[in-house]
């Protein structure tokens, strides 16, 4: 039976560890600086082109998020179990009266909260910069993008934890996480284009294939958040918007939630089967 007091203690420890982790600090600072720089350029351009600052910044942020947020989630998740397994702290913790499910849930929630803090800092500072610069726009879109980014971060973390539960060495886990990040980020679009040409896919099949990649799901949801339609994504986007209509938004958010939950549940099963070592 799950002891939530134990889970809470482990969440506190994960948060504390994350805020002392130099990689986490580096990611947080990098994300904040890059998003603020992006916002600065957007706001600077708004005067001459008359485009709302929040809208321009949000559009620019989507690409930044697609690069950095999965990297943060995957690498932190991958390091979490494998790193502690390698230095023996995992075995020592599990020699205490706690079980594997409590440990994993504590790590997952703790790291998710740490990632949320990093994103809130980045988004918050960027938003503040735009408000100070007097930039207008729909603040709700901006907040929704933050919420979608949190979901993407947690989905990436969940995948990272699954990698971490599967392998023994921290270096292997991080290597696999980076490889997966490369596939999801760089080969997502190219792979889809290539597959559609070679296999002569129909537009519906192409859209279905895109939904396999959580980054594509995030991108489609973020564009929908920004523009209220998917024309910018071409025929597949138009097809999706016409086919699913109002159900598209809950479908995309639901898929991100599935990505956040299913790999984590698989990680708990792998961890249970493999044991501590």
């Amino acid at each position: 039976m799950m002891d939530f007091e134990t889970v809470f203690i482990l969440i506190q420890k994960e948060l504390r560890d994350a805020f002392r982790n130099r990689w986490f600090i580096l990611y947080t600072v990098a994300f904040a600086i890059l998003s603020m720089t992006l916002a600065w350029f957007s706001v600077s351009g708004a005067g001459s082109f008359g485009v709302a600052g929040f809208g321009r910044t949000t559009a620019g942020l989507i690409n930044l998020i697609l690069l950095i947020v999965p990297l943060m989630g995957l690498s932190l998740g991958a390091l979490s179990l494998a790193g502690e397994r390698e230095n023996g702290t995992l075995a020592y913790m599990l020699a205490q009266p706690i079980n594997g499910a409590e440990l994993l849930l504590g790590k997952y929630i703790g790291l998710a909260l740490a990632l949320a803090a990093a994103l809130v800092i980045g988004f918050g500072l960027t938003g503040l910069l735009m408000v100070i610069a007097g930039s207008g726009g729909d603040f709700l879109i901006y907040v929704t993008l933050l919420a979608l980014s949190l979901l993407l971060a947690v989905a990436s973390l969940s995948l990272g934890l699954l990698i971490s539960a599967t392998v023994k060495r921290a270096a292997t886990a991080v290597g696999l996480a980076l490889f997966l990040w490369l596939i999801l980020v760089y080969f997502g679009d190219l792979g889809l284009m290539g597959t559609s040409v070679v296999m002569n896919l129909k537009v519906g099949q192409l859209f279905g294939l895109a939904l396999i990649n959580p980054l594509q799901v995030f991108k489609i949801a973020a564009v929908l958040d920004l523009r209220d339609n998917l024309e910018v994504l071409g025929p597949a986007g138009i097809y999706a918007f016409r086919t699913y209509g109002a159900a598209l938004w809950p479908l995309l958010v639901g898929l991100l939630v599935v990505w956040a939950v299913v790999p984590f549940l698989l990680a708990t099963q792998v961890f249970k089967k493999k044991g501590v070592l």
Partner: protein, 284 residues
Amino acid sequence: MIQVTNLTKRFGRFTAVDNLTFTVESGEAVAFWGANGAGKTTAVRCLLNFFPYEGEIVINGLDARKQSKHVRRLIGFVPQELSFHHDMSVAETLVFYARLKKVPDGFDFEPLLTKLRLTDHIDKKVGELSGGLKQRLALAVALLSDPPILVLDEPTASLDIRAREEFLLLLRELKQAGKTMIFSSHHLEEITALADRVLLLEAGRLVVDAPPDQLERRLGWETTLHLYLPETGIEPAMTTLAGLGMPVSRNGRGIRVQVAPGAKGRVFRVLQDAGVAVEDFAVE
């Protein structure tokens, strides 16, 4: 208190622990002894349910597999490798593990810190501690909830001789206080100092289950005694011992005699009776 029946652990094709059966009574100190790779650490880890195993382990009537969390409440564990979070201070480490062990609020850490001489190091980072201090911290964490059982995996493996002696003294005190202990070691002197029973493991199998004083006899070992004698005593000593059938030879300023298990005292008695004074001796 602890019943282990047909415990087997395989890693792929390698059988680390092979059909191990033993019991440990309350207040008893039992040592796993054997060479590296004999299965000592794996057996210890099975008690803590670190990984799936075959067979049955029952601790205080609880199934170690199905009720592992409850079982671990009864156990204080001291690992072979010092596995703390090095960026935490001694105080943070103790508080963190005390919370995990559900030690009541307001628990007075001072007596434990004094007993283990950690008071002066309370604000230091764990990474700054010496091997001996880290091991004392591990023992402090193990004792936080005052568990009836201590499981120690090669607890002195990383310690120098002095730190090892100090640590063994602490363990002897805990044994006298009634703690049940299971520990693994490959140091014979550690086992003779602490264990009531020794479980000798070879390739994962239990070869001997005996008290330490019977170990040599059960294994049929002979001990070599180096006796340092005055020049005038060497010849009479060699004649006396050879007459009793003991293989004896001259060795520098004394003699070397091979003694059957449990017969070392006899050598000194017969030499005393023969009027030969032993100046010094060494056991090999």
